[in-house]
């Protein structure tokens, strides 16, 4: 038994790029694109579409900007039914840089936003929808921003936006099954004409479990990454999600090959996954930035002091 409405989006290159300033080289991105295409996964997200006036191409790799020509080079010569997505942040993209869909290799544009920026985000997402793209809104820091402002934002999205899906993004890796269930139910109850999506973070080893919980309560747009790669604790592992879903269109074997050949070596170079300071930040509902700073210091394994620093913040 499977649910044909479910759409899996692989955000390996986009979220993984947050670890290394999006400096994945062409060969690596092409291997991932080939593997994801062969696995039958619905979408692949390759990076952010940022304005080059805000970020320097000297400091960041191609996937911080996702220019159409770069994406075309990745797609070239690969048989694929996998649609291409890119992400934009509120205020960081020049809307005029986005060509009409008919001229672009991109299928979907996802706008990442905080609840407080929902007006701007709806404006942007509608702009992309008007240009012919599938558009979504991805609401970040959801564990921090629950309550009446979120409820109001969801009503506004349902009323004013042209998006096909709205994602719950557990930015801090702090949701448990019960909070995931509550959120998916709230989203579903208000967003009657949209799909609900889920993007988990794996601080507490719950990204996959919470994604299953979201599926149970009828979220249909699901994010995952190969071997769970992603900033800090990383994300829901794609191989586990594909193993769980019973849709015969998916094939786990190309994903296993990617892990064997690309991600085991890569994990020796850059760090992500179950690492105690990220777990502590997740338990406390904190942004991972303090934990990331700790991991780059000579106190990287001093968990007690880090724990105390988060608990003793005072008023």
């Amino acid at each position: 038994m499977y649910r044909p409405q479910i759409k899996v989006l692989d955000c390996t290159i986009r979220d993984g790029g947050l670890i290394n300033n999006h400096l994945f080289d062409h060969r690596f991105v092409k291997e991932v694109y080939k593997g994801i295409s062969a696995s039958g996964v619905d979408y692949i997200e390759l990076g952010y579409k940022n304005s080059k006036s805000l970020f320097s191409p000297k400091e960041y790799g191609a996937w911080k900007f996702c220019e159409d020509d770069e994406i075309k080079k990745i797609k070239e010569g690969v048989e694929s039914n996998t649609k291409v997505a890119v992400m934009v942040d509120v205020g960081r993209v020049n809307l005029d840089d986005v060509k009409p869909k008919a001229e672009s290799p991109v299928d979907m544009i996802r706008t990442a936003t905080y609840v407080k920026d929902i007006d701007k985000a709806i404006h942007m997402a509608n702009h992309f929808a008007d240009k012919g793209y599938e558009a979504t809104l991805n609401i970040m820091a959801i564990s921090r921003d629950r309550g009446s402002a979120l409820t109001e934002a969801l009503h506004q999205i349902e009323k004013e936006s042209k998006v096909i899906a709205v994602y719950i993004v557990d930015s801090f890796g702090t949701l448990y099954q019960e909070t995931t269930e509550e959120l998916v139910k709230e989203f579903r109850s208000i967003l009657k004409t949209r799909e609900v999506g889920f993007h988990g973070h794996n601080n507490q080893q719950l990204a996959f479990g919470n994604t299953i919980e979201a599926i149970i309560h009828n979220a249909n747009y699901l994010d995952a990454t190969v071997y769970g790669i992603g900033r800090a604790a990383g994300n829901c592992p794609l191989e586990l999600l594909v193993g769980f879903l019973k849709n015969p269109k998916f094939d786990i074997r190309p994903i296993l090959d990617l892990i064997s050949k690309e991600f085991i070596p890569l994990r020796n170079e850059i760090e992500w996954g179950y690492i105690i300071p990220y777990a502590i930040a997740g338990m406390m509902g904190e942004h991972p930035r303090a934990a990331m700073a700790l991991r780059n210091s000579d106190k990287k394994e001093n968990y007690r002091e880090f724990y105390e620093s988060l608990t003793n913040t005072g008023l």
Copy 2:
């Protein structure tokens, strides 16, 4: 809000010992005992009580046998409210080797059993209860042995046994939240006068999530290990479970210290955790032994071939 009936059992030394033939040295075990005691965790399980006529002390460490004198040396000089547990397997312990509780440093004896051995297991557990110990039954390989034989075994336990708790043991790391919920509800509905316990394996990164699910449905005896150590994929990480439970009697900091000082270095020597062949075995409901053999071979990262070997077994 917390549930005072919840009892957490740390089985770090017992389940971790399955990786290294129970060869943890005295210093290490004492450090773990001190840390677990300081954290306020209810029980610590130190190993198996096996007959020396079945296993050679030349091959296996002290914690394969858990002699009373060894346990006394660990407890000596440490202030602790943590009770000591040992595990026994059906047919591997000489019942006469077990002294009456009044003469022993052990508080609880857990009998691990398959459904098919339930008669012998009840006999053994009742023997331990009669000698004054807290006795439990831990039903292994639960994902394989569901159905009428399990239901009958549970009725027999409720009717004939003297155990305080019966554990669901997800030996193959193959349960999801829904199957966990079903099992906990079935156990609870039949075992009306006993507590239900849960021991997850982390093949699919679901040991913690499934433990939360078990808690939601009123399982009160919960197994976990420091940094998730345990054979193959390991177990529910104790630090996550203690972070989740709101009982003020627990202190996570001594567990964080153990990880910093003991388990980060140990993980560089012996392997456990999220490793793809164990994930594949978990998805397929297979015993981890084939994956363990793979990890000891020169094909340790050849996931596709391993996957095919499990799917093409024929009839």
